[in-house]
Amino acid sequence: MPANLSVRPPVRPAGRTRPALAAAARRRALRGWGYAAPTALLVIGLFVLPVLLVGQMSVSDWPLLSGNQGINAPQNYVDAVGHRYFWDSVVFTVKYTVIATVLLIGLGLGFALLVQESSRWTAVLRTSILVPSALGLASASLLFYALYSPQVGPLSPLLRSLGLADGPVTFLGTPDSALWSTVFLVVWRFAGFYMLLLMVGLQGIPHEVLEAARMDGANRWQTFVSVTLPLLRPSLALCTVLCVTGSLLAFDQFYILTKGGPDNSTLTVVQLIYNVAFQGQNDLGVAAALSIVVLVVLVVVNVAQLRAMRTGQED
C-alpha cells in the first residue's frame, strides 16, 4: 500500500502547464496534511510515543514511584513469565476467550437471522437485544454484581421457587460459576453488537443469490449452510477478530464482578498487568514486559486470523 505515496496531480481542466500542475498538487498535499494534522498529533503523541516508551520500560528497572532506574533486561521478561500467576492467567484468559467468542458469534448470528424480517415485533426484539450495548461494561458489571448477589439479587429466590436450587445460589462463589456468570453478563452486554454487525453482513448478500438457490430446490437449511454462511465470511471474520481481541483483553467485568477470585481463579492477563503495576508490587518494568508479551501475542493472533480469512476467501 505505501507504493503509491507519490503525489499525483488531480485531474484539472486542460490548458495548464506542468509546473503549474505540480505546484497545485503540492498545495493540495500541504492542505491535506493540514487537515490530517490533529489526527497525526494525537496518533504520534499518544500512541507512537507511548508504544516506544513501553518498549523502553520493559527493559528498564522502573518502580511506580521512583521512575526509571536504568537497564534491567532481560530480567523483567524473566520475572514476567515466571510470575506466580502468569500461566494460570494465560490459561484462564484463553478459556474465557474461546467460550465468549463461540457464544457471542453463535448467538449474534442466531439473533441476526431471527430479527432480519421486518415487522413491528422484530423491531421491538431487535431494540431489546441492542439496548444493553448502550450501557458501559463497568455499569453492566455493577448491575450484575447486584443481580447475582445472594442478599438482594432476584435470581437466587427465582431459581429456588422454580425448584432448580435448594439453598441460596452463589453465582460468584466457585471458579466455574464465577466464569459462567461473567460469560452470561458479557453475552447480555455484547450480543446485540454482534447481531448488528452480522445483520449488516446478511443484508449485503444479494437476494438474487438466495433466489437462485431456492429455484435450484435448496431448502432453508441448505441455503443457509452453502450460500449464506460462505457469503457471510467477511462479517464473521470481522466479528471473530473483534471478539477474540476484546476477550483476550478482558478486564472491567472481572475486576468488578470477581476481583480475580475466588482464589485468583478468574485472573485475566490484563488484570495481572494491572496488579503488577499498581497493586502491591508497583513494578512498571515487569508490567511493561507483560504488556509487550500481550501486544506481540495479539498481533500474531490477529495476523493469523486475517490470513486465515484471506486464504479462505480464495477458495
Binding site: G32, A36, I129, L143, N302
Partner: protein
Amino acid sequence: MTMTAPAPTPARPRLRQVRAPRARLAGIALRTPYWVLTGALAIVFIFPLVWAGVASVAPQPGSSQVDGWGFGNYVTLMEYQAGLPRYLLNSTLVSGLTVLFTLTASVLGGYAFSRFRFPGRDVLFLLTLAILMVPYATLLIPLYVMLNAVGLQNTLVGLSLVLTVFQLPFATFMMRISFDAVPRELDEAALVDGCSSFRALRTVLLPAVKPGVITVGLFAFLAAWNDFVAPLILISDSDKIPLPLAVANLRAQVMGIVDYGATEAGVVVMALPCVVLFLLLQRHYVRGFMSGALKG
C-alpha cells in the same frame, strides 16, 4: 419504547418477499414456539435493566431505603464523598471533551484521507487503525508516566485526550468511508465556484456525512461516559473521578458490607442517559453502521 421503529433498509423488503411464502407454509403451529422463544429473549435482555430501576427505589435491608419505597438510595448517592453532582459534572466534562476532540480530529482527518493525496497519508491511516491492535493496558502504563511528565496527570483534559486516541481508529475509519460515499462532483463543484476547501467541507460535505458524524459522536460519548480503566489508572484524586469509578468505589465503602441499594441507584444514573440517547438516536446509529459496513 414506541420510537424504536428502525429505518427500513433497502435489502430487507426483498428478503422478505423471498421468505414470505415459506413462512406461510410453516403455518401458525410453527409460530407459537417462535413467539414464546422471542418473548423470552426480549425479557432476558430487558429484565436486568428494569430490575435495577425497580430495586433502586424498593425497600431493601442494608441499604438507605429500608422501609417502603422511595429515593433513599439516591440521597446516599448525592452525599457520597464529593457528591453525585460533582461526579456527574466530571463525567459530563470528560464525555463532552472526548466527543469534541474525536469529532474535530476524525472529521478533518476523514476529509484529508478521503479527498487529498499527500505523502505519508497511507502510513498515517494505517497507524491510526493500528491503535486497535494495541491493548488498552499496554498503552495506559506509559501514558501514566507520560502524562505525569507533561503535567496532565490527574486532569480531565488528559483523560479526555487519552480516551480520544482510543476512539480514533473507529472514528477516522467511519468518517473516511462517509466522505468516500459522497460523490466527488459535489465538493469539486463548490471548489470550482471558488469555495475554499474548508468552506466546501463545512457547507457542502458536512451535511452529507451527518449520519457518520452522529454515529462517531454517539460512540465517543458512550465510550467516555462509561470508561472505567483509564480513569482507574490516570486519575488519583477522588473529586476528579468520573461516575463509574465513584460507584465502583462506593460499593466497597464499608469493609465486607456492600450497599447494594446505592450501587443500583448509581447504575441507574449511569445507564439512564445512555439508554435514552441510544433510543433517540437508534435510527441514525443503525443507519451509520449499515452505510459504513456495506461500503467497507
